[in-house]
């Protein structure tokens, strides 16, 4: 996703200015010459200045290139699915891992990712389950990361040693 500097510049200026305004709302401790708002104000101003400079550069070359360039992958649905599946899988993990437990969530996500990459469904299901089991064993038993078990809590003892 490429945007022309003429759009990118003002967007950065807005973000910087917004940060400065937000910083004014921070409480000011008594007796300090500089408060917690000093650095956010400085970095916000820095962003705004850099944004202005991008805007000016963009005005100079405004005829070069389109304002907004759609990436090639977005025009092919299979690649678009491949792309969006990654953030969607991460969010799905966040939402599902507590209720379903790690093993089930990981198997489902791995399965979905493999299917999207054209692995045969039966093969994908077997491989996803094996990988999820292996990762679960590794993290729960060897690395002691507290992965949730969800409905499998009752049988989790079989898989942790």
């Amino acid at each position: 996703m490429r945007v022309h500097d003429i759009i990118l510049g003002p967007a950065v200026v807005l973000a910087g200015a917004g940060l400065c305004v937000w910083a004014t709302a921070l409480p000011q401790p008594q007796g300090f010459a500089y408060g917690p708002n000093l650095f956010p104000t400085l970095t916000g101003s820095g962003l705004a200045l850099a944004g202005l400079s991008i805007l000016f550069a963009g005005i100079k070359k405004r005829r070069m290139g389109p304002l907004f360039e759609r990436p090639d992958w977005s025009k092919r649905w299979r690649l678009a699915i491949n792309f969006w599946l990654i953030p969607v899988a991460i969010i799905a993990y966040v939402l599902l891992v507590e209720p379903l437990g790690f093993l089930i969530t990981a198997t489902l996500l791995l399965f979905a990712l493999m299917i999207a990459n054209r692995v045969h469904p039966r093969r994908a299901a077997v491989v996803a389950l094996i990988i999820a089991l292996a990762i679960n064993l590794l993290f729960a038993s060897i690395l002691h990361v507290p992965l949730p078990w969800g409905p499998l809590t009752a049988v989790s003892g079989w898989l942790i040693w």
Partner: protein
Amino acid sequence: MFYSVLSQLTDGYLLLVILLSAAYGLIIGAIPGLTALMASALLVPFVIFMQPIPAVAAIITASAMAIFAGDIPGALLRMPGTPASAAYTNDANGMVLRGKGAVALGAGLIASSLGGLISALVLSLAAPSLAKIALIFSSVEYFWLGVLGLSCATFVSGGSLAKGLVSLFLGLSLATVGMDPVSGIPRFSLGSPDLLGGFGLIPVLIGLFAVSELLRNAANPPRAEALPSISGPILVPSLINLWRHRLGTLRGGSIGTLVGALPGAGSDIAAWISYAVARRGSRKGRREDDIGASERIMSASAANNASLGGAYIPATVFGIPGDAITAIVISVMFIKGINPGPTLFLNQPEVIYTIFGIFFIANLALIPLGILCIRGFGYILRLPRAYVSAVVLMFCILGAFSVENTLFSVGLIALFGLLGYVMESNEIPLAPAILGLILGPMIEETFMTTMLKSRGDLSIFFDREIGAVLGIVTVAVWAGVVLLQIWPKKKLKSKPIG
């Protein structure tokens, strides 16, 4: 102390960790699209449960191996495995096409190893004396070091200065989220307890560098290509080459160490600079035949591996990371109770010297393991990508989770993955943002404590000797860069690189 370092280095568990992380680093580095930084970030959940020394050893070894392994797909398929190999991909691929694949890869391997050894030597010799100077540093010097580091990171990031600055200020702004270091007042935390401690480094790193890379790979799947075969001996010709190109390799190693020691400038910049120096500055490097190509390959491969060791100079001496990989190492050290900085040299010298020793072991082990990896590359390439990328994503998720134990940090990697993708598509470099996020709190804290000491008098920043020098250097760097921007640019007649 020598014996205690030696006994630590010959510990069987440590050597096993080095061997396993070497194999891991070689495989990740050899897969096109998976970088050395990604290899290091995904190691975090594993090393966090180790003792401090093996933990650091794993990251050092894996990153050194991955930087070399990136050469292999670069040479054979013209797809650099890591950005650090991109500088000489054309040269190496050209030699492969002329049937000199073993020579090209051997040259890169031996130069990588030597470059790494040079930087390890400089690191072991320079760091202790620098640490003695660093002991007298106060918050003023650390403030200037932080600002100087961020400035370098932005100026060397390449491309437009304004876009580098956007990245830098974005990182610094992200660093202000969470509790203010002096007064403890929460800032921009939106009332969420997850944001009180600020954005964690590891989730942001995994998002910006690993998830964004997965997104790019998903959108542009690499084509499968026929693999040219590598035949003939590797070791002997590469030793002969090493002698023939000793000056270029030494020069590359030195450039790499120096560039690596600058905060923000990582292995890819080191490789490009060394490549350009070899191409323009040496008689051999200008030639268009195999000797010229070998000279350029060896100079640049020595530099990219040397930069890894160079980056540990500011990391161990001042606790300021030279690049994103050392930033990971520093955060792992903090979690494991080692506080990098000058006092580490006083209090736990054996830890520091063991870490330096690991550099030597890793770079020596690179030669036999690298040869194995070149020979076995066909098998690595046959690893089905559909499974590899799915597993890497799973490890990204678990990596973010295992450091902070919150699902919030898992959500962050999706957010920062998309952000990193959009930034890179618009030529906004990622490295300044990461260094801003890491150094931001240090700069703010040292500024505030200095101000408290001086009761608001700004002149204190130029009162102390070393502080004043660092301050003047920083101001001069900025003045120079701004002048260069304003001055009408002379059209430099330069050959295109590569």
